[in-house]
Symmetry: D2
Subunit: 299 residues, 4 copies
Amino acid sequence: MGIRTDLALESKEIFEEGRSGDAGEIPGVAVDVDQWDQDIRVTRIRIQDEEGAAALGKPPGNYITIELEAGLSGTEARREEAARAVAAELKKLLPQRDGESPLQVLVVGLGNPEVTPDALGPRAAGSVQVTRHIFLLFREQAEEGMACVSVLCPGVMASTGMETAELIRKAVEIAGPDLVLAVDALAAREASRINTTIQISDTGISPGAGTGNMRKELTEKSLGRKVLAVGVPTVIDSNTLIMDSLGGFLTEPEKAEQYLAEQGASVIVTSSDIDQVVAGFSEILANAINITLHPGIYS
Amino acid sequence: MGIRTDLALESKEIFEEGRSGDAGEIPGVAVDVDQWDQDIRVTRIRIQDEEGAAALGKPPGNYITIELEAGLSGTEARREEAARAVAAELKKLLPQRDGESPLQVLVVGLGNPEVTPDALGPRAAGSVQVTRHIFLLFREQAEEGMACVSVLCPGVMASTGMETAELIRKAVEIAGPDLVLAVDALAAREASRINTTIQISDTGISPGAGTGNMRKELTEKSLGRKVLAVGVPTVIDSNTLIMDSLGGFLTEPEKAEQYLAEQGASVIVTSSDIDQVVAGFSEILANAINITLHPGIYS
Amino acid sequence: MGIRTDLALESKEIFEEGRSGDAGEIPGVAVDVDQWDQDIRVTRIRIQDEEGAAALGKPPGNYITIELEAGLSGTEARREEAARAVAAELKKLLPQRDGESPLQVLVVGLGNPEVTPDALGPRAAGSVQVTRHIFLLFREQAEEGMACVSVLCPGVMASTGMETAELIRKAVEIAGPDLVLAVDALAAREASRINTTIQISDTGISPGAGTGNMRKELTEKSLGRKVLAVGVPTVIDSNTLIMDSLGGFLTEPEKAEQYLAEQGASVIVTSSDIDQVVAGFSEILANAINITLHPGIYS
Amino acid sequence: MGIRTDLALESKEIFEEGRSGDAGEIPGVAVDVDQWDQDIRVTRIRIQDEEGAAALGKPPGNYITIELEAGLSGTEARREEAARAVAAELKKLLPQRDGESPLQVLVVGLGNPEVTPDALGPRAAGSVQVTRHIFLLFREQAEEGMACVSVLCPGVMASTGMETAELIRKAVEIAGPDLVLAVDALAAREASRINTTIQISDTGISPGAGTGNMRKELTEKSLGRKVLAVGVPTVIDSNTLIMDSLGGFLTEPEKAEQYLAEQGASVIVTSSDIDQVVAGFSEILANAINITLHPGIYS
């Protein structure tokens, strides 16, 4: 396939396009669509087994897509509603715990803060309310309904000289969280995704996904903690954009793909209003995380 | 033509592709290619008459393209060399004056500083050395080889509520320049242009060119002053990107164009490293303008 | 007087300190104090005549101070309340008009956006909702309760080479407003003002006030339009800080002033958290202006 | 003493003022003054023993002050000369090593990047050339005269929820450096220091020094590696500013100090041009570090 996407929803569309004429279910994949309100749609894709994983090219687990029909063009109130929709889904994926002690969470903002389309993670993480130091220093000030939250923005290897996954593992040693919640910028297939889509997954992050910040995996297996990932598509591979746009026109798309591969001129592109996209979605994700982790404060 | 570009060099290539088999000169267009050094090529296109204008779709005048083979990846010394190459071309286009009084120049940084691919103009203009207030307030401190320079960054109409061209006309009334030197972000046809190309022209700026900041023309006719424009491509229309990438593959490109037009999903895209592109070329253009206008200080 | 302040409230305090023992009214000055809510106090000082003007060292007119007891440390809801308090005072000072046509306002963000303590004006103005282009281009989309607003951020003379007052006069020619609403950073006497105080006045801006961005006056007389100014103190002259802090200790303060003057080491200082102060108050002022001018949208 | 400073040079001046009449040497303190060139002075203070440490209130070790007479007002060439002067001093303090393997250095940018006067560390560290990943991934591309450099910007505890010292210790575990080179913003006594002074020391960083980013010490003892610190003063305690400014005037300064302490209104202030100060000195320090660590590339 010449099409690169981090969105399970797009992987599903691609699979369905590939077997035209057969609109039935995908074996090993359960899909559930919900309308949060008039403008916000929630699609929950569950990859149940290896057959489903092979079909969609992603590891088994939950992939939830929240689509904002009006993108970021709505009012502040619409953005807050989007944050509430994301929070409702995140909440269902939190690890169970007894009521005694607060949930311990390490929020990780992946990506390069100097490169706008890659800065979603650090920007969102930078607006998450950090509380671990309050638990450490002023225990009595920690409130009901407040998780114990630490934040790491590990940067990228070209800026630190250190493996991002190693820095995260060390922060896990310090903070000892129940949960790692990673925020990352994603690659999409369709340009219109950049302004409208949020994905949550509970399968961790694989090398080469997102904007490619991870060279090693970031999973429950590698970290010993549950890993949730929240992301927003901010980039498209130009060849993916071309094949997606002309897909319905070309009679022999695989030859076009081969032609593009031979030209070797693939570039990663982004929307020209990427500053506003990253600012808007960073705010939505930070709000969603705050509502999820600190329900006693943000509600 | 489904291909949009602000670069005369690309217009020339498109014209030549359109008459395949005939590699001769274009009537009404004179072309001169120069190698500044190993990595920097200068192409001077002169549209001499209406026939040339019709062929390239641009008004008669001079269009000079400076191409950096290695893009911004080189050292600081390479960037300085690029600035010197641009300055050498700008210098030839300055209005003649007697040696008595300093040249009066209004530098205009077009574009929206909040939108990175559109921020080239304000960023470059913000690093140009302003001297008009020195001439006004401390006349004696003005040095030999220093032009009398003022700078306007008029923003965009959506941010000011005022026509950009009107604001520039008013600044011309204040500063009374011999020359208006406008810096603007451009649209290109090929993605590889974004990191490598600078264009200088002496024909002013037409509505809809560049990233579309001007709704009215900015020309010698409209302002009563000579207008030089310096720009760097930072965006591509997605349909242009598609047609440019697959052009050599499609047997009936005009049908593909029609298909894309019907899909109606054209978006303006930019390179994912646009922050670094705009930072690097803003610095090169500001240096080039400083070397051109203040040779007594920057040399 | 060795003490510099742009706040009429501080001028009043200084005058009262200077006549210790006499706590009565100041001739030519009317004062009215109001509590907006528990945390927000509104002090309206009216300088009624030349005697009052001489006492406080400011031209006759209205000076309204809004003090936030908790500074910016409160919640988002507290900031919105502060914006409503400012809007209530601004509304009383708007020029009267018949109900037919919308109020025309030119908002001017004074100051240097590159110098944080001076960036309050451009930052606040940059978040004001601009509508004049909607009236010009899409008349029918202009809503009830929406003023016709344009915005100018003229920069500073060292960055433009042009007199700030001249640029504003030209923008007045373009936009033809009923009212000029200028936002500027101010100088205070007490360090604690920097995080807590907003001043509105209807007397325009004099050269040397604020952070010194104006070399010429910006008044109804100079512009031919009513001028409202809104400001927040962001800087203190170090000698003012010293005399204010030790004023109650020194037995011969005027000798200390003379000593400081001889040392000649006065510097302009600001709070070390100035980034957060400017961000927070810019947001409050922009909200206040939006509520005032567009009551049909922000209410 | 009511005077707070991180500069050994100011501690020495304070000690000397305290024993007026006796201009001799300070026991346990060796001082050596050098003129790098006309505008750059280098003062090397060596605290030799506990007596010297008690006199200056700092642990034994080397404290080198580089003073730029013209501050940042000079040309780019002057800034480069300042970087070379700093690099010459840093080089003398590097740990000895055999010629076989490259020096391994962890550069740590202390401070909060969102608070300009505290952002010197992250800004400078962000422009240091990172090379450790080149040694790891493309061994053969590592050049002669290039150290193996990693960079950590650990943020502040209020933003991460984790102890800064713990994060640094974990990065030391990852990178295994021979040397930790920390960059931090400092507190000075005299306002004029903010624009003119750089300090290098080899004694590590104590809790409460600098702008207070460290709650635990950062020393060879705590990290098991040699620690060099490079800093620039960016803030002053307002009470320190007052006492420093009026020190020569007050007959009973200790009573003034007591008065100020009772007022309890001490605030941390900074210069109103702090954006330009931090930008300029971050560049100088990054250049100095690059010249020191990568002499084969920057020379």
